[in-house]
């Protein structure tokens, strides 16, 4: 038995204003797995994501990354291993230029010189944004910003990537290109998405979250074929889409 890449045990959390968001959420992901996290708006997915690298701390329960508990002394190490692409690219980008923004993460871990330059241009070419490298990120279109946000995480070469709706605001070709990048990466991945065909394409396994708990866990195709489950969690396949078609 390998150590889980990510292990979340009965996690609870409420926001300072009293809203209870996570209620005993728990799951684990093994190294190399690609898992989709599905669920309605307001289910607590983003809040859960914020726990995975210690931005939020569990009230009860625990989070472990490759056996390391998310605690002060491990934070630097955990943040090197877990790369998070935030749901809102404006949360992710803060440096004066795109290039500096992508370099920020690796530079914090001591990468410098040529190595740093290569990493930055590799990451930016992977998302097709090398030509905007010297522009300020907040002067890009929303879709462009989302691609740069993905690059900032790729440049850190994390072992686990967590993506919070990476495909929203992307044009259809970029959406497919992103899927190609992600499948080529061969790392552990947790992806929050509302795009069910995308989830099916990328992730063999799916978790369903509602009202702060994980209420289903299984092969994505099975989850998407379970009528009651889908209906109870505001999940619907697009008109004319059959999860069991053969690709």
């Amino acid at each position: 038995m390998s150590i889980p890449a990510l292990e979340v045990v009965s996690l609870s959390y409420h926001y300072p204003d009293g809203t209870e968001v996570l209620r005993e959420a728990g799951f684990h992901i093994h190294p190399g797995e690609r898992v989709a996290l599905l669920g309605p708006n307001g289910a607590g997915k983003t809040t859960l994501v914020f726990h995975l690298n210690g931005i939020f701390r569990p009230e009860t329960g625990s989070v472990q990354v490759a056996g390391l508990p998310v605690e002060d002394e491990n934070l630097m190490e955990i943040r090197r291993r877990v790369g998070i692409v935030f749901q809102d690219p404006d949360d992710q980008l803060f440096m004066p230029t795109v290039r500096q923004d992508v370099a920020f993460g690796p530079a914090n871990y001591g990468v410098e010189g040529d190595e740093l330059r290569t990493r930055v241009s590799d990451a930016l070419s992977a998302v097709g944004m090398l030509h905007v490298a010297d522009r300020p990120p907040h002067h890009l279109s929303l879709g462009q910003r989302r691609r740069v946000a993905v690059a900032t995480v790729l440049a850190m070469r994390p072992e686990i990537v967590v993506l919070d709706e990476p495909s929203s605001n992307l044009d259809p070709a970029s959406r497919r290109e992103l899927a190609d990048i992600l499948t080529a990466l061969d790392i552990t991945m947790l992806m929050v998405t509302h795009d069910l065909p995308y989830a099916l394409e990328l992730c063999p396994r799916a978790l369903v979250m509602n009202d702060g708990s994980i209420i289903a866990d299984g092969p994505t195709r099975e989850v998407l074929s379970n009528r009651e489950l889908m209906k109870a969690n505001r999940l619907e396949l697009p008109l004319g889409f059959d999860p069991n078609f053969d690709r």
Partner: protein, 254 residues
């Protein structure tokens, strides 16, 4: 600093003071503070009257004593200064438990502490019973120039925008292995202050676009505007009136 500090000063409630129109409360506060400041420092009894009025305000507003006490801490540096005045002042000296203290210094210290505390307490009562938008529209009604109140209104709104941007930047930096150490503080401070300005500025610009897109023309719409009746003014001003009587009396005697 993250979050909604602009709302943290207001205490929800439904007291007489909460219901008074903001303009009358502002007027009363100004009059009260002026009376306190003009009271001669030797008239200790008059400060007793003022303090009674301030406590009355706290009691009517239904504020917790701890809340007021905590907010009063704002004054500490000046209290410290006041405490040292008796030790360093010149002139006539008196002996108190072995220390030689200046009489004039003692009076000066007392003057600063008592007036500062009373003024602060009165302001706390105002901000705890009046929401920020109400204070702004109250200023409007008191004929403060429009330019001032509109800029102040936007300032308050944008405080949240900036606080939000700061919070986002911090989270983003932490997530990618940033570990602030004191030695970097000034560097990080200036770098992020600059970035913060542009971010906030452009976000503020877009928010402003969104407001104009919904018909905004420079003044916040009123959602159920308050009416100011003469009776409200009478009630609001009754408190500072007592303070003025006390101050006037003390001045006449002095």
């Amino acid at each position: 600093m993250a979050g909604t500090h602009t709302h943290a000063l207001f205490v929800h409630g439904d007291s007489e003071l909460h219901r008074l129109p903001a303009s009358t409360k502002l007027g009363a506060l100004g009059l009260f503070v002026l009376a306190v400041v003009l009271t001669p420092r030797e008239a200790v009894w008059a400060f007793g009257v003022h303090a009674g009025l301030a406590l009355l305000g706290v009691w009517i507003a239904g504020l917790k004593p701890m809340f007021v006490a905590r907010r009063l801490l704002l004054e500490i540096p000046f209290v410290l200064f006041a405490l040292f005045l008796p030790c360093i002042g010149g002139g006539e000296q008196i002996e108190v438990i072995g220390l030689s203290l200046s009489v004039d210094g003692l009076w000066s210290g007392w003057n600063i502490v008592v007036k500062g505390t009373l003024g602060l307490a009165a302001s706390i009562v105002l901000t705890a019973t009046t929401t920020v938008p109400d204070i702004l529209s109250g200023l409007d009604r008191l004929r403060v120039p429009r330019l001032i109140t509109s800029i102040a209104g936007f300032m308050v709104r944008y405080l949240d925008v900036i606080a939000g941007e700061m919070h986002r930047m911090r989270m983003a930096m932490l997530s990618r292995g940033y570990s602030p150490r004191w030695i970097w503080q000034l560097k990080a401070y200036t770098a992020s202050a600059g970035a913060l300005f542009i971010r906030s500025y452009e976000r503020g610009e877009r928010v402003y676009f969104a407001m104009t897109a919904r018909g905004f023309t420079g003044h916040m719409p009123s959602f159920g505007d308050e009416q100011v009746r003469p009776a409200d003014w009478v009630r609001a001003v009754s408190v500072p009136a007592v303070a003025w009587v006390a101050a006037g009396w003390a001045l006449a005697v002095a």
